[in-house]
Subunit: 135 residues, 2 copies
Amino acid sequence: MRDTYLLGEAANVTGGQVVFRSECPSRPILDQIADKWSMMIMAVLERPTRFNELMRRLEGVTQRVLTQSLRRLERNGMIRRTVLPTSPVGVEYSLTPLGESLREPFGHLYAWTVEHSAQIQQAQQAYDHGTTPTA
Amino acid sequence: MRDTYLLGEAANVTGGQVVFRSECPSRPILDQIADKWSMMIMAVLERPTRFNELMRRLEGVTQRVLTQSLRRLERNGMIRRTVLPTSPVGVEYSLTPLGESLREPFGHLYAWTVEHSAQIQQAQQAYDHGTTPTA
DNA sequence: CAGCATCCAATTAGATACTG
DNA sequence: CAGTATCTAATTGGATGCTG
């Protein structure tokens, strides 16, 4: 017995009300994977990629933040870190099957942002002008 | 001409390399909508909801953060703020059509986190134990 | 090459008190 | 009821220098 909410699978229904509990396991997960760098990293990791190539392809990311994001994704089982037996040392990052499976929902979300970015910018301008537009 | 990446619609292809530009409009959008409270707020806003009911149903959110999240969602055109002509003053939040259209990609992402949360927790424990599991 | 360590600036969040 | 204001604590991020 549950009503027709799209989100909230892990939320509890208390007295007919959907409540998003703080112990819900989806919370830290969303926190960790739904940030912009994670999404872009996983986009680039369509194929195995080296650290410096990742840096070059994610314009604006710093070494520190990229490293942290990679560690977190690795810890969450989304990516694999492979040390290559080359001379100056090389590290390659690649998606795990779990990470692969995230590409699809991420893709939907990303596609949505691209499709609606113009509309969102309009809304922002309208809001910043005189609050709340007619649209 | 573009290769088969799922994400990166708005990225530029330079010399055969997909580069995620810092001016890409999807960046601030992802920043703003892909945080945990926005997702949960929009989940609750399946139907119009008052401020205090939102607070009650989003366990752990503070008044301050909820207000900020709501303002941001409103600014981005995702939700509408309606002042009700009741006696002590009531405010009702509801999704705009734009916000409605986000529920589907959000739903996919949320469903994914629920489906895979056990697997992710396993990966985390394995990582925290002795780095990088066999899986 | 692929980081880690450190320092510091800035942003964000919690707690608390007050208001139309 | 639905916030705003303020202060402070904690987190995050950039910059820089160093290393196996």
